[in-house]
């Protein structure tokens, strides 16, 4: 009796296990030739491209890949949509497993330098210099894609510098004009507060949004050096520039310059833009992708000519260069992995992302292409371009420039400064400690 039931039990279990195994095998069989650059049965070399664009911006990439595939029957580019939120971790897993995509985006600063130091990026210097291709790009863009004098990526997506966008209706209503100094800005903010309008729309659960105020204020106070020195270990984040930035922010918070509840609001979800569109807040310090964002979600606002822009005001009492911009030239930098089977074809694919058709599509989506010959009919974008072209230098976003673990501390402490839960001195000391600990580990 017992034995029979055992054997029946085993039979059932065996049947189930077998079914499971077959499913797994079916899965494997349906999965050959994925990832990696191996040729498949059709004899084509497969190239994988990872990007993080969405919606119509992703279509630009897919269109470019289709053109490339049509022109190059021996290759097949597969475009994989990745999501920004988990992009870096996806990439690090692929690095671990040796399944890196042939073409992928990275950001400038420490992230890219680390990849280069790991030997993960293909050196594009010769390909970029052939036929003067590199010269067609804005110099600051190429500088951002370079490390130790070699070029490792291509600035494709956008000139993304931060500046202050404002709702013209609100400015008109209270007879306000674009301020050029911080003192003027403060006077303007006082007027708005007195009229019950929040001067700045800010959604700072996102952290980098508030951090931009900190970065600009520090840059206006001390120029590029304090930050560059602090990051290199020759200076410190306890420098006056950072103290000024922190104190100014807290002063502004106390005066009510930012919308209510900013530390709990999410920028991606549009909580700041809701106030900006409705006129409940007058200004938004944001990267120049803002124009494209508005074009995508509220074209009417642009058509009505409500959007205005001015560069971050200057600090009269400082001798730092007032033309400095904060941001990145290129935003997403496209790189070729060192393990790619066809790096030259991969590079050519990247060039398709900026060919004539792509440029037309990009322009139509309010992208600011980092090419020297790029011009725009859009007045706001032209103003942004003027600011960039007149800039003596670009301060790269702290969170891209700094190593990830230090950047995280910066974002945290800047949020705490905004929340008044930490004094600027404490915040800067904590940031400095994180920087020192990183440098000690990696010296």
């Amino acid at each position: 009796m017992e034995r029979r039931t055992i054997s029946r039990f085993l039979k059932r279990t065996a049947a189930c296990t077998l079914a499971l195994a077959m499913l797994l095998l079916a899965g494997c069989a349906g999965n050959t030739g994925n990832s990696g650059g191996d040729g498949d049965s059709s004899g084509k070399t497969k190239l994988t491209l990872w990007h993080i664009q969405t919606g119509t911006a992703a279509d630009i990439i897919k269109d470019a890949a289709a053109r490339f595939n049509a022109d190059h029957p021996e290759y097949e580019v597969e475009v994989v949509d990745k999501v920004n939120d988990t992009y870096k971790s996806d990439l690090s897993m692929a690095i671990n497993a040796n399944t890196m995509p042939d073409i992928f985006i990275t950001w400038g600063g420490q992230t890219m330098y680390d990849y280069v130091d790991e030997g993960l990026l293909y050196d594009l210097t010769d390909l970029m210099n052939a036929d003067g291709y590199a010269d067609t790009f804005v110099d600051a863009g190429i500088a951002q894609c370079s490390y130790n004098g070699r070029i490792y990526s291509v600035p494709v997506e956008n000139i993304s510098v931060a500046g202050i966008f404002y709702n013209k209706d609100v400015f008109d209503q209270y007879g306000l004009e674009e301020p050029s100094t911080i003192a003027e800005l403060e006077a303007l903010c006082d007027t708005l507060v007195a009229n019950g309008v929040a001067p700045f729309a800010l959604a700072n659960a996102t952290q980098w949004t508030g951090s931009m105020y900190f970065q600009y204020l520090a840059t206006r106070y001390g120029g590029l050096e304090p930050f560059a020195d602090a990051a290199a270990g020759t200076g410190t984040f306890e420098n006056d520039a950072f103290v000024y930035a922190g104190e100014k922010i807290q002063e502004w918070v106390e005066k009510g310059y930012f919308c209510e509840g900013f530390n709990g609001m999410d920028d991606d979800a549009g909580q700041a833009r809701m106030l900006f569109y409705s006129g409940d807040a007058a200004m938004d310090l944001m990267g120049s992708w803002f124009v494209g964002t508005i074009a995508g979600e509220n074209q009417q606002f642009l058509d009505d000519g409500k959007l205005g822009f001015f560069p971050f005001p200057t600090l009269e009492t400082s001798d730092a260069d007032p033309s400095l911009c904060l941001g990145t030239i290129g935003d997403n930098l496209y790189a070729v992995s060192a393990s790619s089977k066809a790096p030259e074809a991969a590079f050519e694919m990247i060039q398709y992302l900026l060919d004539d058709e792509a440029q037309v599509e990009r322009k139509a989506q309010s992208k600011i292409i980092p090419l020297k010959n790029f011009t725009s009919d859009d007045p706001v974008i032209t103003e942004i371009l003027d600011a960039v072209n007149g800039a003596a230098g670009i301060q790269l976003w702290y969170d891209q420039y700094l190593p990830a673990e230090v950047a995280e501390v910066h974002k945290q402490t800047s949020q705490e400064i905004f929340g008044l839960t930490m004094s600027p001195e404490e915040a800067n000391a904590q940031l400095q400690a994180a920087m020192e600990s990183y440098l000690a580990k990696n010296s």
């Binding site: 988990t86 971790s89 790991e118 659960a205 209510e260 709990g264 979800a269 990830a404 673990e405």
Partner: protein, 297 residues
């Protein structure tokens, strides 16, 4: 002599049968759960960014840092708050809903479906809906407050309120699970016990407190353990709604680990956090279970 060998044989048969029954589950768990957690313990000995070939062995360095890390212990404290409040809020409401549905039977079908909906909604949807709902400028709490002449109410950006706000939303999401769980508990009670009790002259409330509640004790105990473990490793809604902020006010162990692993790229340290969580939660869960079961005996 013979009886000893009989019992020995029985014991061996039981052992073999137990092995056969347990093998599939243990095998899957070993591959997909135990192996990774062992890996975490190993990785916790390194300073590593998650992809670099440069993996530096630092022994107990990460563990020493973890012991001294105020943010981690603050996150642990937050987890304990979530745990206690989840049990206090979710258990009674879940039980009350289940009791109601059990009493009204088929008539309560619409309620059952509607009451179950929060469980079906993904954390992403819930997170964004409540984000907008609680927006200090455009949300409904602010609107209600302003209607009565109050000011704007900022629940998610205020370090003093953010954790409790999220706990209430977590409760909203998980009450339906405990409702279903207790309904299943009710349905395995002997069927005619209710009628028998009423025939004996018991009132509904007497029936609930004296008869069904004691019979549901095993369900309640295991629900408490489930809720504890779930709260201590909770991640989803907090990540979507606050990412642990502002100022770590809603930081949980799991969100802190996630930030370290995927924003700071401190894989070694994140592994130490994960391994620490594993130890803390297991110990708390197993000790609680022992305590709950001892009381019974």
């Amino acid at each position: 002599m013979k009886s000893i060998t009989m019992s020995q044989r029985r014991r061996r048969e039981t052992a073999i049968a137990a092995t056969v029954f347990l093998a599939p589950a243990l095998l899957v768990i070993a591959i997909f759960v135990l192996y990774p957690i062992v890996q975490s313990f190993v990785t916790s000995g390194y300073e590593w960014n998650g992809y670099s070939s440069n993996k530096v062995f630092i022994g107990l360095g990460n563990w020493v840092e973890l012991m001294k890390d105020k943010t981690f212990w603050y996150a642990f404290r937050n987890n304990l708050v979530v745990m206690v409040l989840s049990i206090v809020i979710q258990m009674p409401i879940g039980l009350a809903l289940a009791t109601f549905l059990d009493r009204v039977g088929k008539k309560g079908n619409i309620c059952k479906v509607i009451w179950f909906i929060p469980m079906l909604m993904s954390s992403v949807a819930i997170g964004y809906l409540f984000r907008y709902a609680l927006d200090a400028n455009t949300g409904f709490v602010s609107a209600i407050s302003q209607l009565f002449g109050g000011g704007k109410v900022d629940l998610l950006g205020n370090p003093d309120t953010v954790l409790y706000t999220v706990i209430i939303i977590i409760a909203w999401q998980f009450i339906p699970f405990y409702m279903v769980y207790y309904m299943a508990g009710y349905s395995s009670l002997p069927m005619d016990i209710h009628e028998a009790a009423l025939v004996d002259g018991a009132t509904e409330s007497q029936y609930f407190w004296r008869i069904s509640l004691p019979l549901l004790k095993p369900s309640i105990k295991s629900a408490i353990v489930l809720s504890m473990v779930g709260s201590l490793k909770y991640f989803d809604l907090v990540y979507v709604m606050t990412s642990g902020g502002p100022s770590h006010a809603s930081e949980l162990m799991a969100t802190y680990m996630y930030t370290n692993a995927f924003s700071s790229y401190r894989m070694g340290y994140a592994s130490a956090i994960a391994a620490g969580m594993f130890i803390l939660i297991s110990v708390i869960a197993i000790v609680t279970m022992r305590l709950l079961n001892r009381k019974e005996d």
